[in-house]
Symmetry: C2
Subunit: 225 residues, 2 copies
């Protein structure tokens, strides 16, 4: 029985990692579509979201099956609970990538606003957080999870920098307000993706230490802004 459960847990982990890979790809592609003003690439991200959604359903079903079949306790139970929350975060990251792709489609037509250099840095930092959060989950590595929580500050700095630049551009050129609002939304979506990666890292810390850090000062998640 315990052996069967371990096998099922490994299968579950494989599903989550596959889902995370798809989500990471969607984030990169949506930002690339934004940068290259490529509406076809944006459409591919939107079309691909269905697969991510199906993966979430599959993960949730697997979790319920394992709970009902093996009735795990202690750390195994917490691991299932963590997977349920992690898959929800991943699915919402996928939705946010679609949101970015939709902005990319809007921004592909004039009048165009330039995409700030700093966005590449923010994207790299965000996808780095997503990857590290999942690695931390797989290896149940609390130190790595805490690194992810700290990295969120880097993304927040990038976000603040870009928003300040964007606001200044809109003041200078009111005809860029529509494009500016679209780009603002896309940047905020990226920042929220980083917040979801932080949620995952906090779930990993809880999984390993049984300590809820989500709402503690040392790892507090900034409120939405």
């Amino acid at each position: 029985m315990a052996k069967h459960m371990q096998r099922d847990l490994e299968k579950l982990q494989g599903l989550v990692l596959k889902m995370a890979g798809h989500v990471e790809g969607a984030i990169y592609s949506s930002i690339r579509a934004l940068r290259d003003r490529d509406p076809d690439a944006a459409k591919r991200v939107t079309d691909g979201d269905n697969e991510i959604d199906q993966m979430e359903n599959e993960v949730q079903e697997e979790c319920l099956k394992i709970l009902a079949l093996h009735q795990p306790v202690a750390v195994d139970l917490r691991r299932i609970a963590a997977v349920m929350l992690i898959s929800t975060d991943l699915e919402r990251m996928g939705d946010l990538a679609v949101g970015i792709a939709e902005r990319a489609e809007m921004l592909a037509v004039p009048p165009t606003i330039s995409v700030p250099e700093r966005l590449a840095h923010m994207t790299a930092a965000t996808t780095d957080m997503v990857r590290k959060a999942l690695d931390a989950f797989v290896h149940q590595d609390v130190a790595a999870a805490r690194t992810v929580v700290r990295l969120d500050d880097v993304v927040d700095d990038d976000n603040d920098h870009i928003i300040a630049w964007l606001t200044a551009e809109m003041k200078k050129s009111p005809d860029l307000v529509d494009a500016g609002i679209s780009l603002f939304s896309a940047v905020r979506h990226l920042e929220r993706i980083a917040d979801h990666a932080t949620n995952i890292a906090e779930d990993v810390i809880y999984l390993v230490e049984g300590e809820i850090v989500r709402h503690k000062p040392q790892a507090i998640q900034p409120a939405a802004h």
Copy 2:
């Protein structure tokens, strides 16, 4: 054993409803702070978020305890899984109310942008969705849950209307760009609160019917925008 579990499930439901009441209050107060340009009211929302966070922790702990102690199956198991996801949605609604309150603090200082009439309608529709989603959960009422999913379109319409107005204001008066961006963020936060209410309603449908509607066309959740 079954009797003990029912008692624990009722206690759990009571916790969730208490949490929902706090969240609903936070949403109303944050919007009132925005409308009345009242930074003190805004600060009370921010200060109150800690309590909502603690409630989420309590709910999650109770869920794990019930799973480990009673090892529920079938509908009881799905009910616990739904509560875990619902409490996460409620906690994020609380964060979004804090986000609105932070914007309210910024918008309390000149230059001021007028708060559109339509925001009152959007707020009423959103809190209505939150209340109806929780009612649907308590009474396991699928019809009510489907109403919530449909109501999201009303909120989206309000959102689109307000954003169009706001964009026009910013084009006319570039000195209002900063205030406009803050108000835009607050409105988007409110729209995301409605999305979370939709998530809860979809979880209720899943709980009762065992059917995952989250990603089905008839009840599909619009991508983030």
